[in-house]
């Protein structure tokens, strides 16, 4: 138990260290974009018809603290970021936490749900595919799973929308019905939300599941051929116990290990699905901030939140790994 607490503490410190390091990279990237917040806002103002002088830009810079040294500004930014405060958006002049609001958490929830859905399906199916000698079952699983990998998410989304519009007259877009869009959370709003949210989860989960099935199947096939499985069979372990306690359990470690990576992949696929289903979520906001409005302050905040989520997932998966695999425990504590 003492060993385990030590592991959690060491791993936690490592996670925070990673996050600080990443925040430095994110902050530096924000700085590398030509121009700064002051210039950007004032050029925006300029385009709206106001006359701006060089002195105005300088005054704005001082007001935003942009004249302070680079490291000092990073220090202030990171301390605020850890408290959930990301400053104001360059262009919109709104507090970023308020601007993002629940959007980020909705996006994260969508991705996590898709991830969970993917593995709930992929683990039993992958194990079945690796152990079954039934050629028909194996080939049909392979077909479905290749279809999942090859069929782009947006195409699947469009097909479902088309089908639903023709059949039911409802295009299934958005995360809320119109009347609940800006309402406060209530029982009805949750119900409305659940009625909408299954579709993006299904679409995002579709390719994630196909990908996960391939992973689980390959890992299981690998483990089943190992000597310790034969050795366990030679000791009289048999049936489901032999399958679950030996190869399945040992194939689980690399799967848990890759969850953070999977989450990132799903988040990357989110904006295009969101675009088609007209969801308001953080992924599309990030693209908007990066590509269109060049709002580095907002983009940095979203990237930081996303990174923090992945670091958080990795922290949690490492704790789970340590509970299930003694080798991981030993590798960090020494």
């Amino acid at each position: 138990m003492l060993e385990f607490s030590k592991f959690v503490v060491v791993r936690g410190v490592l996670a925070i260290f990673t996050l600080v390091l990443v925040s430095f990279i994110v902050f530096s990237l924000m700085e590398l974009v030509p121009g700064d917040c002051a210039e950007r806002y004032l050029s925006f103002k300029n385009s709206q018809g106001s006359m701006i002088s060089l002195a105005d830009i300088q005054a704005e810079r001082i007001r935003l603290g942009l004249d302070k040294p680079y490291i000092q500004r990073w220090g202030v930014w990171i301390i605020n970021a850890f408290q959930g405060e990301y400053g104001d958006s360059c262009i919109l002049r709104l507090n970023i936490s308020q601007l993002l609001g629940e959007k980020f958490w909705l996006s994260l929830g969508l991705c996590l749900s898709s991830l969970i859905l993917a593995y709930i399906i992929a683990i039993p199916v992958g194990i079945l595919a690796a152990t079954s000698k039934n050629a028909f079952l194996n080939n049909s699983l392979r077909l479905v799973s290749y279809l999942g990998l090859a069929l782009p998410n947006f195409l699947l989304a469009l097909m479902i929308m088309l089908f639903s519009t023709v059949m039911f007259g409802d295009s299934l877009t958005g995360l809320f019905s119109k009347e609940f869009r800006d309402a406060a959370w209530s029982y009805e709003r949750v119900k409305d939300f659940l009625g909408h949210v299954w579709l993006p989860i299904f679409i995002l989960g579709w390719s994630a599941t196909a990908f996960a099935i391939q992973t689980v199947r390959a890992l299981m096939s690998d483990e089943i051929g190992k000597l310790y499985v034969t050795a366990a069979a030679a000791r009289g372990v048999s049936g489901r116990r032999l399958l679950l306690r030996y190869p399945a359990r040992h194939a689980l470690s690399p799967i848990i290990n890759s969850l953070g990576f999977d989450l990132n992949r799903i988040f990357n696929e989110l904006p295009i699905v969101a675009l088609i289903l007209t969801l308001t979520e953080a992924g599309s906001l990030l693209i908007e901030a990066l590509a269109r409005s060049n709002d580095q302050q907002l983009a940095g905040a979203i990237i930081f939140l996303l990174t923090a989520s992945i670091v958080g997932i990795n922290f949690i998966t490492d704790i789970i790994l340590a509970l299930t695999d003694p080798r991981v425990r030993r590798s960090i504590v020494g």
């Binding site: 050795a231 366990a232 069979a233 009289g236 306690r245 359990r249 003694p326 080798r327």
Partner: protein
């Protein structure tokens, strides 16, 4: 001496994408209680597959010949191993009356399950012991095979132990259910020579204490000379010579056995060049007709070697060889 195991006409083929591969061809031998039999041959000779057949542990694409009969003689009566089908029935030959230890002790323990946990699991499958009793017995067994601080080792994982210690733990686990027959598949090959000697001594002691039979698979004739009572030599799935260790090693009759012995390095005369057997063991897909050794044999008698399968002939009462050299009327 009482008979422990009879293997009669063991034939085993594997159904693969390239066709049926014959891995074992009509092999018969027997083993008495308390006897150590060495099963010798190069890689690919079918010795491991033969031993695994006794536990029906070969992969599911294995097809046993119809004449195959393997009988294990227990106090409770004979067990016809080929007729065992369900995993429940098979438990008597899998860890119950027969245990097996493998070449690589590291790979034969599940990496994420503690050694003790795996030992207790086996005991619970094969006996009525509760966890406490099984734990006590397991620690006692670990202690018995010479593992110091057995209580701590019991809780550890395979990767935390040294190579020799792992193989000792493997032996302790294999013996904890008090099997009548132990199959040791190259148990010392992966170990240092000094550790190898310790493990062999340990196994010899345990045979005497437990009065069980051992099938000792190896390609090392030196190890066989030290440990076994009798030896069976396999080549390409067929038995070519068997007999008491003394006879077979002092007066080998089959050209293959002679070759194996000649290929051993001589420590007392380092200048003697090694004399390897020429050529390689053929692929099981291209088994030569007649005597399987005819592609590498230096003592071919004539066409009979490539046309007829040699029968077993007595060299002495306790020493048989399958070679046309000893056919009646054959010129020597």
């Amino acid at each position: 001496m009482t008979r422990l195991l009879d293997v009669e006409n063991l034939t085993l083929q594997f159904d693969t994408d390239e066709g049926r591969i014959t891995a074992v061809d009509n092999v018969s031998f027997s083993l008495e209680a308390g006897e150590v039999m060495g099963l010798v041959g190069e890689s690919g000779s079918g010795k491991s597959v033969t031993a695994k057949s006794v536990m029906k542990l070969n992969p599911s694409n294995a097809i046993y010949g119809e004449q195959t009969k393997i009988t294990l003689h227990l106090d409770s009566g004979p067990v016809d191993i080929m007729s065992l089908k369900t995993s429940n029935d098979l438990q008597v030959v899998r860890g119950g009356a027969i245990s097996m230890i493998f070449q690589e002790p590291m790979a034969s323990f599940a990496p994420a399950i503690s050694i003790g946990n795996q030992m207790v699991e086996q005991l619970q499958i094969h006996s009525d012991m509760n966890i406490k009793q099984a734990t006590e017995l397991s620690i006692e067994m670990l202690d018995r095979v010479g593992i110091s601080d057995a209580g701590t080792r019991f809780k550890q994982y395979a990767f935390e132990l040294s190579g020799g210690m792992r193989q000792r733990a493997m032996i302790a686990m294999a013996l904890s259910t008090k099997p009548k027959l132990l199959i040791a598949d190259e148990p010392t090959t992966a170990l240092d020579v000094t550790i190898q000697a310790q493990v062999i001594d340990l196994m010899k002691d345990l045979v005497t204490d437990f009065g069980m039979g051992i099938i000792f698979i190896t390609h090392d004739l030196g190890v066989i000379a030290q440990t076994a009572d009798k030896v069976a030599v396999m080549y390409l799935g067929r038995l070519v010579e068997q007999g008491s260790v003394r006879d077979v090693i002092r007066q080998p009759a089959h050209p293959y056995t002679k070759g194996l012995i000649a290929a051993l390095p001589q420590l007392d005369d380092l200048d003697t060049p090694l004399t390897p057997i020429p050529g390689d063991i053929p692929s099981p897909l291209e088994r030569p007709p007649g005597c399987v050794f005819n592609t590498r044999c230096s003592a071919i008698v004539g066409d009979v070697c490539t046309s007829a399968i040699p029968k077993f002939l007595n060299v002495t009462d306790e020493h048989q060889v399958a070679c046309h050299l000893y056919d009646e009327g054959a010129s020597k």
